[in-house]
Symmetry: C2
Subunit: 367 residues, 2 copies
């Protein structure tokens, strides 16, 4: 792990990465889900879209539909829908534990689930490179069908484009999804509150390491399989406790670190992690050491982070652990009023380190 360890961290002198780095063109880091991705949205897409854009343009939007005018971002009288989109460009397309097809379904299902929605419908749009084997495409489509069936969502509309062999790389998939948010559920990155317990549903860093393990000849001692999974069942189990869940997030690109930093900024709160409580499997730890990666920044595709009121923490943690997808769930930290917008970790030796928002991309094309 690359970090400065300091016993008494000077929060005042810590500076957020400068907005919009001085590059004239798109670099890999703009797709990494870290600071550069955020800058592209904030300093290019939002100003360019102008008044047509919703103020947030986040991973998933909450829309009110029915009984009068439709609005976005406002809980109205009608049905509340969650709407989300994600493109998948993972390389290789097949990796231990899954394929781009699994990711394409589970990824969008999870974006919907993180607003507490019941995912219902997905669109599927393919950009195919000329020359891609139809058998390969068939396997990917089959993985999508199986994942959709497992998740209980319907694939209802689609599109296929083909680009010449010099302009693509196998199969790119976009899925967009619609879900319905149950009455009374209000889960949002802005709702983290000091005192909230920070939970994670299981081992972190698994997906990123699984993809890296089969890329460019890298092999590790033990096999690591992607954790790709649909998480809305797990969310339903958490909601069934009756707890007022404040924030849910699936820590994909940029890992736990990116998700916690985004939540800290959106809610204007601090987050304090306890490093020794992070569930990092030994094989992920080993692989990260070898590759010089921080497990906190490595992508997950079947895990969630939850901010829950302190009085509900034990009950929600128990509900997570009772579910097959949450057996290794753990409390990893606390939401604090100090150092708003910043995530810090108490290290094993008693120090404190800043857990920064990743700047660019540790692992390109991981999802």
């Amino acid at each position: 792990m690359h970090h400065t360890e300091v016993a008494d961290l000077d929060f005042e002198s810590w500076v957020c990465p400068v907005p919009l780095r001085d590059t004239p063109s798109v670099v890999m880091g703009h797709g990494g889900g870290g600071a550069m991705s955020g800058e592209l949205v904030e300093h290019l897409f939002l100003p360019a879209f102008g008044t047509a854009a919703a103020a947030e343009l986040g991973d998933s939007a909450v829309l009110s539909i029915g009984t009068g005018a439709a609005t976005d971002g406002v809980a109205g009288a009608g049905t509340r829908l969650a709407f989300s989109t994600d493109s998948f460009v993972v390389k290789p397309m097949f990796f231990p534990g899954g394929s781009i097809g699994d990711l394409a379904v589970n990824g969008t299902v999870n974006d919907l689930a993180m607003s507490g929605a019941t995912p219902l419908f997905l669109s599927t749009a393919f950009i195919l490179q000329e020359g891609t084997g139809l058998a390969e495409l068939g396997r990917i489509a089959q993985a999508m069908g199986t994942a959709a069936q497992t998740a209980g969502v319907r694939l209802v509309t689609g599109d296929t484009k083909v680009v010449d062999s010099a302009s693509g790389d196998g199969v790119y998939i976009n899925t967009s999804g619609i879900g319905v948010i149950p009455d009374g559920v209000d889960i949002h990155p802005r709702r983290a509150r000091p005192g909230d317990a920070v939970l994670v549903s299981g081992d972190i860093g698994v997906h990123g390491v699984a993809v890296m393990s089969c890329r460019e000849g890298l092999e590790f001692g033990t096999a690591v399989e992607s954790d790709t999974a649909a998480l809305h069942g797990l969310v339903a189990a958490m909601l069934a406790t009756g707890a007022d869940l404040h924030v849910l997030r699936d820590p994909t690109r940029g890992g736990v670190s990116a998700s916690l930093n985004e939540i800290a900024r959106a809610s204007d709160v601090g987050v304090e992690l306890v490093e020794r409580d992070l569930p990092v499997p030994q094989n992920v730890r080993d692989a990260c050491s070898l590759l010089g990666l921080d497990p906190l920044q490595v992508a997950n595709e079947g895990k969630l982070i939850a901010f829950v009121p302190p009085e509900s923490a034990d009950e929600v943690l128990a509900a997570l652990r009772a579910h097959p997808l949450g057996r290794s769930a753990a409390r990893i930290g606390t939401c604090v009023a100090d150092h708003p917008g910043m995530v810090v970790a108490r290290t094993a030796i008693g120090g404190t380190r800043v857990v920064g928002l990743p700047i660019g991309e540790q692992l390109p094309r991981i999802c």
Copy 2:
């Protein structure tokens, strides 16, 4: 125009293109919106998706949401939503009359409008090639913002991925959209009935020729500008007549020919066009002659085809012509009970020709 002209066409001996051509890999034609695109959906995606897929997997899905269980394809008690997705890979990204940004917004708005929906919300997902200029990306995003504002839709959620310079080609954009279908509106490719008048909202073949004109050094005598436009206002004007619109379709990839063939098959009816009534501008006609293209197979991005009951034809045509986007609207043919699934054209010299579903791709990467 390439076709066999016969005075007395033998419909019995005409054979539909064989399903799933014998190719082991993806070819450009699979993305052309013609027969090969259809085969890929029917013989690969639908079987592979299995029970998770809606039976049709069309350009746009109708979903019922609210008051009980959500369903697809069935008009229920709740709100009826239209849901659609489209990826855009047009090359070049800027062309006379518009850019990939305009297409990305208008294309999905139009897919929604063709089910009679009022388009409300779009997602925007980018796959960017490393090295693409940020200024260029900014211009594209600005075009999207302007088009969305003009169309009155909100850009509510997004995603950005970056692929290395060998694996992309500038900017690929997926937009997915949600609209609400007004009560009483039931517009669907299966609703064409013998006797229906077939209308087109204006000049055909314009977009395809505009893109070709600036590609690979081709230049024609007169400038042709893309017709890219959002058509839901035009649809609203048609609905305001009170006519029971049966089918609407925007003839994009594969042109008027592909759209009419799809409708003929979906409704199990025949279509008879009158060739001299087709509004083909002289510059499009000239360009098509030069390139060996059939204007009926060239893409449009701001036109619609309508099947309307004969008694409403004049009124709907008048409503089209009274709208700025429908000034050159024309009745181009009639829906017939003969030769179901087939489109024929009465030629200028009194013969008849089959207007086939394009097999593959006349003009690759046109949208």
